[in-house]
């Protein structure tokens, strides 16, 4: 019953009723990891401060949420919501767009054949975007890479203990968590791969290869480096 009520709350305010975020507008089309599925993601944030949260870790908190909890922070609509819908309509408009209200990040999934699957894809895409766009402060004094970051590092990292298991690759949903922690570190060291590599017990080359192994990670790092006047990794 509690659940039913919360679902209904989450489904209210369907269309955009929230004030738009200020800042600049990035529009990018990303190829997803899932084959045969094209997802467009528009982000409408530059930087924002997380207000009202009792915890300051912000972005990490979002990613720690279950799909259901994350959904509850989003508003969702299907496209072209015109007419009475339901039994009246057969248009296969299964496209889903979700907007994460605390950050204003929008994720869409349009190519799957069921709305349910599009919703799952949009949520997965939202997680990636949260990892890419939401930064957590890192204290470099006595920095210890968190477990989720150690898990995406290659086995030769000297920071990696035996309890980390085998390396998690970009196709694993858990990769997103490690990617966020890696970007947090990259921002803390102002985009320097060699500095970050030292904190991770890796050679500069090994860290570069890890960054280049995932398109969205590479793009985020290169965007940061360009903004600092550094050469992009290729």
């Amino acid at each position: 019953m509690i659940m039913a009520q919360s679902i209904s709350k989450w489904m209210r305010n369907p269309m955009v009723a929230v004030g738009t975020c200020s800042g600049f507008f990035v529009s990018l089309t990303a190829r997803p990891r899932t084959l045969g599925l094209q997802i467009q993601v528009q982000t409408q944030i530059k930087a924002f401060s997380l207000k009202g949260g009792s915890s300051s870790s912000g972005g990490r908190d979002f990613l720690a949420l279950s799909d259901e909890e994350l959904s509850r922070q989003c508003e969702m609509d299907t496209f072209k919501a015109s007419g009475p819908g339901g039994q009246h309509r057969n248009k296969r408009e299964s496209a889903v767009r979700i907007k994460h209200l605390p950050t204003g990040i929008i994720a869409q999934a349009v190519e799957d054949r069921s709305q349910h699957m599009n919703r799952a894809s949009a949520l997965a895409r939202l997680r990636t975007q949260l990892a890419l766009k939401v930064r957590n402060a890192v204290d470099l004094n006595g920095y210890q890479p968190p477990l989720e970051l150690l898990q995406i590092l290659p086995a030769k990292s000297t920071m990696r203990g035996s309890d980390c298991g085998s390396q998690i690759g970009p196709n694993n949903p858990k990769f997103v968590l490690g990617m966020q922690a890696l970007l947090d570190l990259m921002f803390a060291v102002n985009g320097s791969v060699s500095d970050a590599a030292k904190f991770l017990g890796l050679s500069t080359g090994a860290l570069s290869r890890l960054i280049l192994s995932d398109d969205s990670l590479r793009m985020a790092v290169n965007e940061l480096r360009t903004s600092k006047g550094m050469r992009p990794l290729v």
């Binding site: 019953m1 509690i2 659940m3 039913a4 209904s8 309509r89 248009k91 299964s94 889903v96």
Partner: protein, 371 residues
């Protein structure tokens, strides 16, 4: 028949008796409404389920370049539609139709990965198909020229994480209806009595909701799905078997609660997507819907609520105390009417009534609990 009753009488007759009478009408009188059906929509005489395209054996072969020609032809046909269907009855536009071409190809080929080679097909390369190329030409012509629903063309609909077999005579499950399973899923996580209980999906059609529920209930939970239509019963049985849920989902032929006398007062939950479109609006429906989908599953009588009123009233008796119900409606107006109706007439039996919106923000469902 109901539509001949003056409005005032309609509101004073018990909805139960009205719905009851209506259900007793022979199917033929329900189907032969004022809408004229093109020949293709005639309900197949055989009630044996047709095998959906994607499940047929890949026994046909064609060259990749011939398949490319088909694709170009199909896309051109889709392009020729432009906004014609949108303007006439809010039907599909070129974009949607081109996406359907892609999906039709996906279902038709044995190996989907070959489709990316269609851009520049290698000379002489062959591809295995689940339907003859001539049949694909014929099917896409029916889609464009006769507005036959895409789901009947390929014989399936993707719904939630399921791929359900559908054919003429069975309603194509809608994306809105997926939410009924979500609503129940939240509930059964919290309450064992609901998770391990007996649920009813009334007017199950393809079996969509029943199968969706069966997959979220506990080991002891089961679903009884009813439908008046023999075709629906056989398609639902086919889909239940495909998901290996024969032990969890039982299908019974009959009208609404009629086949459920043995579980009266014991049901943990009742869900339904009953016909709710007002009779007068059937004529103006999108061609894919009005010409092809079973009127039995769409036409809810004069105000669209003949069946919904019956369901609300009967659910109050069929559920066990604490049992849950969720019914799909035509939208805000019906949801409000039904909530008012239950608050006034059924308040001693039901409580915690709520109207819940779909993803378009339309109040689509009424839900509540038996006291």
């Amino acid at each position: 028949m109901n539509s001949s009753l003056p409005r005032t009488i309609l509101s004073t007759i018990s909805p139960y008796s009205l719905a009851f009478k209506r259900q007793k009408l022979p199917i033929s009188t329900r189907v032969s409404g004022p809408v004229s059906f093109p020949s293709i929509s005639s309900i197949p005489s055989s009630q044996k389920p047709r095998i959906p395209l994607f499940l047929r054996p890949p026994i046909f072969t064609t060259s990749l370049s011939d398949l490319q020609k088909w694709q170009q032809w199909a896309n051109n046909l889709a392009l020729s539609v432009g906004s014609k269907f949108v303007d006439s009855d809010n039907g599909p536009d070129t974009n949607i139709l081109c996406r359907e071409v892609k999906w039709l190809l996906e279902d038709a080929v044995e190996d989907k990965s070959i489709l990316c080679q269609l851009v520049s097909p290698e000379n002489g390369k062959l591809v295995k198909l689940r339907a003859d190329l001539d049949e694909l030409y014929c099917l896409w012509k029916q889609r464009i020229e006769e507005r036959r629903p895409f789901q009947y063309i390929v014989g399936c609909e993707h719904w939630r994480d399921l791929v359900l077999s559908v054919q003429e005579g069975v309603l194509i499950p809608r994306p809105e209806t997926e939410l009924i399973v979500d609503l129940v899923s939240g509930l059964v996580l919290e309450e064992e009595g609901l998770r391990e209980g007996i649920w009813a999906d009334l007017g199950t059609g393809s079996g969509a909701i029943a199968i969706g529920l069966a997959r979220i209930l506990g080991d002891g939970g089961r679903v009884i799905a009813t439908d008046l239509s023999p075709i629906a019963v056989s398609i639902a049985a086919f889909n239940v078997k495909r998901y290996d849920l024969q032990d969890k989902v039982e299908i019974r032929q009959g009208s609404w609660f009629e086949p459920l006398e043995d579980v009266k007062g014991e049901l943990a939950g009742v869900v339904s997507n009953p016909p709710y479109i007002p009779s007068s609006q059937i004529v103006g429906l999108q061609a894919e819907v009005g010409r092809y989908e079973p009127r039995l599953a769409l036409d809810g009588g004069e105000n669209g609520m003949d069946d919904l009123l019956h369901l609300c009233e009967a659910a109050a008796l069929m559920l066990k105390p604490g049992g849950f119900f969720a019914f799909e409606t035509n939208g805000e107006k019906q949801s409000k009417f039904l909530l008012d109706f239950m608050t006034q007439k059924l308040a001693t039996n039901v409580h915690n009534l709520e109207a819940i919106s779909d993803f378009c923000g339309i109040k689509r469902f009424v839900t509540g609990f038996r006291r």
